[in-house]
């Protein structure tokens, strides 16, 4: 499967997750967010950027509890909590935010 954006073809898995981490760009993220009915704001970017940095360091997406802990450390408790993350990514940060961040789909029943 794939999608086209600005004349370039991007390979995805059957659910629209990017096949290649390096294909990711802000435009690609905006495009994927659109397919998920998510409108990217500064708050959304903070999470996506964190996920990409974390993945690049550890080659795995963080557990949600680690995401919350790190968000709390970086942006304070009003952003480091479950409710806030689900408000931004209603289908669940584990799936939706990872997808927009260009990470592979977590291989679990998430």
């Amino acid at each position: 499967m794939s999608f086209e954006l600005n004349g370039k073809t991007y390979a995805t898995d059957e659910e629209g997750y990017l096949q290649n981490l390096d294909d990711w760009s802000k435009d690609v993220a905006e495009y994927i967010a659109g397919t998920e009915d998510v409108e990217m704001t500064e708050n959304h970017w903070e999470i996506v950027n964190f996920l990409r940095e974390y993945y690049q360091e550890y080659q795995i997406a963080p557990m949600i509890k680690i995401l919350i802990k790190e968000m709390k450390k970086k942006f304070g408790p009003e952003k480091g909590n479950n409710k806030y993350l689900y408000e931004l990514y209603p289908a669940g940060p584990a799936k939706q935010a990872c997808k927009i961040a260009g990470l592979p789909k977590p291989t679990g029943c998430v």
Binding site: D13, E14, E15, Y58, I60, P62, M63, I64, K65, I66, N82, G92, P93, A94, K95, P104, K105, P106, T107, G108, C109, V110
Partner: protein, 406 residues
């Protein structure tokens, strides 16, 4: 000119399976097709698939989506008037698919679990931190002084396997069980490694990976000298583990046994080790029978868990109504056999429409479930899709929410 289709030969392996399945007995009556909620997906149905096989169209069926959009609910098998055994046929068709053609990330997850001890690849340090942190939160937020999640405690009564979905994305969902164990003053434990509860080797009909994951579970029981295993969630995980123990590690049962989650909850309630207040659930409640806790184990092990969950719910809920059909005739939610994690979401939702009708017709406001994938399918997929005005809870969540803590 008319084309005459000649039957083709099929592989020796499939021929053996078909012999055992007794396809010659098939009357082509279509009971399987009529009773299967997946009939119609890709213009196929179970009867058509089996007749295609009888005609030698093995490669066509293996290449089709059909084996993978089947939720393995086995209503077809249960209802066939001639006893054609369809489960092993579906398994053989899945197993015949090249592993790099297995849909979605199901194969990758099973390999990850066999190698790293959980499907997602959560590092051990993160996992151990999560358990400690979660228990600390329960002390601070719920005042449950002294609550702990014992890891690798030798000789415990119960060993439980965490579900990597919860560890990764829904950690608070583990706390209901923790709270119940706390209230019952149970001696329980979880393993520090190879801890995952579900089994995508089973979902992908990969005996080697299925066995490797069950071996983790058996090895943990042996190593920690635990007395009883609580068969792991999800429904498919429990069935994969139970079948795997009996197929590959039967001698392990000389040293310990296994129980279902219902056995634990019922025992606590019967023995008065936990006390509950049913006025906490005044709303009309119904129960969804997981195929793997009901029909499927009734067919493979002789007894399904139908009465126990209803008895437990009766202790915790004031009003109960059955949905129809129920128990061994219950419709699958659509998430079975890896469909929740797999890529064919539309097929899962299409299958689940029958369950959604059952729920709607019951008039219940609370749907109680016993499997994490049934829960997610009903709560996150069927509820919005069919505008169901319901709350969905695990049966252990209902018990935990009803607890009277002294």
């Amino acid at each position: 000119m008319e084309t005459i289709i000649q039957p083709k030969d099929i592989s020796a392996k499939l021929r053996e399976i078909l012999k055992k399945a007794d396809m010659n007995a098939c009357l082509t009556c279509g009971t399987c097709a009529a009773g299967c909620p997946s009939s119609g997906i890709d213009d196929m149905d179970p009867r058509q698939v089996y007749r295609m096989l009888a005609y030698g169209l093995e490669e066509e069926v293996i290449a089709s989506r059909w084996p993978w959009v089947c939720t393995g609910c086995l209503r077809c098998n249960r209802e066939c008037p001639m006893g054609v055994n369809m489960g092993p046929i579906q398994k053989t068709l899945k197993a015949a698919r090249a592993r790099d053609k297995v849909p979605g990330s199901l194969h990758k997850g099973a390999v990850t679990c066999a190698e790293k001890g959980n499907h997602i690849g959560v590092p051990q340090g993160d996992y151990l931190w999560l358990m400690e942190d979660g228990a600390e939160e329960m002390v601070e937020e719920e005042g449950l002084t002294g609550i702990k999640v014992p890891v690798d405690k030798e000789g415990a009564n119960y060993l439980m396997f965490p579900n990597s979905k919860e560890v990764f994305g829904e950690p608070d969902d583990m706390k209901w069980w923790w709270k119940i164990f706390y209230a019952a003053k149970e001696d329980w434990t979880i393993p520090s490694e190879n801890w995952d509860s579900y089994n995508w080797g089973f979902f992908t009909a990969n005996d080697e990976l299925h066995k490797a994951i069950v071996k983790h579970q058996v090895d943990n029981m042996n190593k920690l000298k635990a007395k009883t295993m609580i068969l792991p969630d999800c429904g498919g995980g429990s069935l994969a583990c139970r079948m795997g123990i009996h197929n590959w590690f039967p001698e392990a049962l000389n040293n310990w046994n296994y129980v279902y989650l219902y056995d634990v909850l019922k025992k606590y309630l019967e023995e008065g080790r936990i006390k509950v207040d049913k006025s906490r659930h005044p709303q009309l409640a119904t129960y969804h029978d997981s195929c793997s806790h009901g029909r499927k184990i009734e067919m493979s092990f002789g007894r399904g868990y139908y009465d126990e969950p209803r008895w437990i719910i009766d202790q915790c809920c004031e009003n109960f109504v059955e949905m129809h059909p129920n128990k061994s005739n219950s419709y699958c939610c659509g998430a079975g056999a890896g469909m929740w994690a797999g890529p064919y979401k539309d097929a899962a939702k299409y299958h689940g429409r029958r369950k959604a009708e059952s729920i709607k017709n019951s008039g219940a406001e609370l749907v109680i479930v016993s499997c994490s994938n049934c829960r997610d399918m009903i709560m996150k997929a069927l509820k919005p899709e069919h505008n169901l005005d319901i709350e969905v809870k695990y049966i252990w969540q209902v018990v935990a929410d009803s607890l009277i803590l002294e």
